[in-house]
Symmetry: C2
Subunit: 436 residues, 2 copies
Amino acid sequence: MKTKKINIGILGCGVVGTGVAKLLMEKAELLESRIGVPVNLKYVADLDTTTDRGISFPEGVFISDAGTVINDPDINIIVELIGGTKVAKDFTLKALENGKHVVTANKALIASFGNIIVQTAREKELDFAFEASVGGCMPVIKSIRESLVANRIDSMTGILNGTCNYILTKITSEGCPFDEALKEAQEKGYAEADPFLDIEGHDSAHKLAILTSLAYGMEINLDDIYVEGISSITPMDIQNAREFGYSIKLLAISKNHSDSVEARVHPTMIPESHPLAHVNGSMNAVTIDGDATGRTMLYGAGAGMMPTASAVVSDIADIARNIMTGSKKRMPILGSPQKNIKKIPIMPFTETSTCYYIRLEASDHPGVLSKISGILGDQGISIKSVHQKGRRTNGTVPVVMITHKAMEKEIQKSLAEIASLDAIPEKPVVIRIEEE
Amino acid sequence: MKTKKINIGILGCGVVGTGVAKLLMEKAELLESRIGVPVNLKYVADLDTTTDRGISFPEGVFISDAGTVINDPDINIIVELIGGTKVAKDFTLKALENGKHVVTANKALIASFGNIIVQTAREKELDFAFEASVGGCMPVIKSIRESLVANRIDSMTGILNGTCNYILTKITSEGCPFDEALKEAQEKGYAEADPFLDIEGHDSAHKLAILTSLAYGMEINLDDIYVEGISSITPMDIQNAREFGYSIKLLAISKNHSDSVEARVHPTMIPESHPLAHVNGSMNAVTIDGDATGRTMLYGAGAGMMPTASAVVSDIADIARNIMTGSKKRMPILGSPQKNIKKIPIMPFTETSTCYYIRLEASDHPGVLSKISGILGDQGISIKSVHQKGRRTNGTVPVVMITHKAMEKEIQKSLAEIASLDAIPEKPVVIRIEEE
């Protein structure tokens, strides 16, 4: 049976919803020529139908009632772009129960409720697609699930939040403090009015939870990912990093240890030779290390109306092709059939190992440095280099140390001990280093 | 009807053929878990069955007769990895006529005979897949055809030949002459014994012909692509480029002018801020500018046994999924159905415009520079900067000029005139500059 037309209903007409509606309307001819069947925007539902979106919808397309869309028997694909995890979850599950394929860009939804949504879609033999949820227009989900199918993925490292990358790039290039960089990011529209999810790393963690599940064939697990944001990064640390040949980026890192995986989000120093070191401004990128491919990297706009909409429409096109050719369950939603999706634990953060950058203010007394290195040595941590950076102020000198590889719990224990010394008036600053 | 097993026959057991055989055998379990059906390597055919490939094939798999593979009714997918365009073409067409899907990594074959092969596959409702033919493991074909489906692609710029990139990187980092860098590339196995296709740019042109067809929805056209290799690049030009803030890369460039396209391969100076400027060694990368996505980039190993094999197996997996779900003609081979594939002409190279780097030796006489700038000025070419680089030798001084944007035919005309001056003993060196 040949399908004559694919009907789309969009829920939520915010930035991305508007972009998807635009693409579906303005690129209708191009899309039909490439997909082989018309993709028809039947409805866009949003509670606010009065604010001008800069599109003139045909009569009856722009409506306020999501229920009309979800319950319309002609709708083939529902595009959930409401955001948040409450209404979005209810609508997504309802749409699947009504036999609609669902496309979303909602990382928070998938990171929090992906397992139940995937299960529902699978039982109903429906597609649930979310390329736009990670890395905007970068085809990272398609790459992991399809292009890297013959690879054991060993690790992934991503700059997955454009707001943070914009802020860090600005501090790096202009030496301005964090607050000023954030303010400009907000003025330019990169950062939300409430930037908490972005700058504290939670948005990156949502995305990492999705990638980690796909890459290693495991259930989605957000809760066990370590998350640390960029709000305490100072121009001084960025400057010091540069002198050591590093850039500071907010990285989402995961590593495959077979029985367990590492998954963590934190500001990270990476060598200038690392391809991610040159990813600047609001751009996103992710390196994926596969056992057959070696390192590959994807780079692109991680957010924004049209880049994100482009990824949403690529999912719509894939599903339209499935509908057209009558293929059901062509691509397992998490990359492997359910019976092969394992519950692989995320390793406790304290068990992970990296090198460390430690910056502290130390009283300018004899013996302080030897005391500090003794504390580190007691935990088996060896120091690669120690530098006095900058001038003495108020009787203290700034000291920067780079350690060899050490375990997080050893560093935490050492730092607690160091912080308790009288000679150390302030809590030391710690930034993890990922060497190649 | 559920397919119980997908049978694969590989033709050609060279480097990539061996890699594909390895992946299919060693990753059989992983692949079955991801694809949902066993992918069985039934045959590997090669005229030479005696040289050890480092794999122990089960009895009866490694044979010398390709006909046995092509004519076996149980074979679902033929993997053509013979190379060259003669036998490979015959076998590919025969396989399609016998109802087999075909996967290849053979860029020369597709660039030269892609149109007829695609037509044959289309008529037989079979898949013809060639992800591995461009950029090794980078999923560039999948990205153009699937991920960027909602985009008008405006331009693509690629480092598509690892041998050339390795050589240019070596000259850049060590200042060694071209011949020495080539020799090392050969010793390390990056360059072929006969490196002509690589270093003279033809391999990149094959790949550009494929990408250009896919991106702009046009028939494959190799003949009209301008091709210039890297054999005349000197350490001096690379050093000069660096002083102006440029890297020299062998770039495959195509631009979409709607009624015509630009497609050219030549050594190119790109600003250090361009993401391709940092792609070093034997790595490949391609930037794609879409009207919705903005710039995206893919990066990865462009050659080598396992990276290329990984891409071949990704095509096998896609086709296996199509067979399994009974989907025919799910994805048009060139991205659009035949009726939408246009015969878009490639613009004559002389009509293209860029900025130019011109290096020449000029007699150290008064008035020479003013004569040269007069010749350029007569063609409407304005000079951005002129520098005397290095010392006077034998009465001549080396002069480097950077022009503003000019048309190729104007430059060629000017240079012919300049070369005919008595004051210019040697043919000037010209390298094109791509500004952002």
